[in-house]
Amino acid sequence: MMRLADIQFSTRGRAMIARLVGELDMSNAADAGETVAERTPNEMLGLVLDLSELDHLDRSGIQLLYRLRENLRIAARNSRS
């Protein structure tokens, strides 16, 4: 993804923490979403998005939150079945 935003990953227990730094808008939100999804293993029980260092978040970023929530929901359903 372009350098408008950086994503730093860490884990706490079985939760993945993604810390977004910079700006998220329609130019990079989709790439950011793919990066977070790719770096979040299915065995993780949760995903925490740390937005405290984000200077700008627009509706593309809000869409990203919904999309990641849906991904997690699907992953959880698949792991139960």
Binding site: E23, D25, M26, H56, D58, R59, S60, Q63, Y66
Partner: protein, 149 residues
């Protein structure tokens, strides 16, 4: 001040004048930009600088910049034409408020998907008055906001 004033003192008063050179920031902004998402970040920087030069406080600067970015994202998302599309931003201020217009050229697409259409909701929340004006060549979003609430 220690370096300016001799240890033995001065025989007269000292005046310190601080100047901030903002001559490069125009009183009004007129931008015509390609309808491409990559213009949004530099556009936000330009709008932030302009708002601060107009006396906007941090809250107004952040909220108006967000609204302008959303309106421009709408223009980029909705604009489509056979030739490379552009959109225009005009910003002006009067005493205590700013008026900003974002115009695209082209027909508006309908919002698609459950998360579409949030842009104008955000613009409405951030600005005092918002008008969406379809015209012969496209759509203009006209936004007004007081700088100090």
């Amino acid at each position: 001040m220690e370096q300016l004033v001799l240890p033995q003192g001065l025989r007269d008063d000292v005046a310190l004048v601080a100047l901030h050179n903002n001559s490069e920031i125009p009183a009004e902004l007129h931008l015509r930009l390609p309808a491409h998402p990559k213009v949004l970040s530099p556009l936000r920087r330009a709008v932030r600088r302009w708002l601060r030069s107009r006396g906007a406080d941090d809250e107004a600067t952040a909220e108006v910049t967000l609204a302008v970015s959303e309106a421009c994202a709408n223009a980029i998302e909705h604009a489509y034409s056979p030739s490379p599309a552009t959109f225009e931003l005009d910003a002006r201020s009067s005493i205590g408020d700013v008026t900003i217009s974002v115009s695209d050229v082209g027909r508006r697409r309908s919002p698609r998907g459950q998360n579409r259409g949030r842009g104008l909701t955000i613009v409405d929340a951030a600005m005092d008055d918002v008008e969406v004006r379809p015209n012969a060549s496209g759509t203009e979003v006209l936004m007004r906001r007081r700088l100090h609430r």
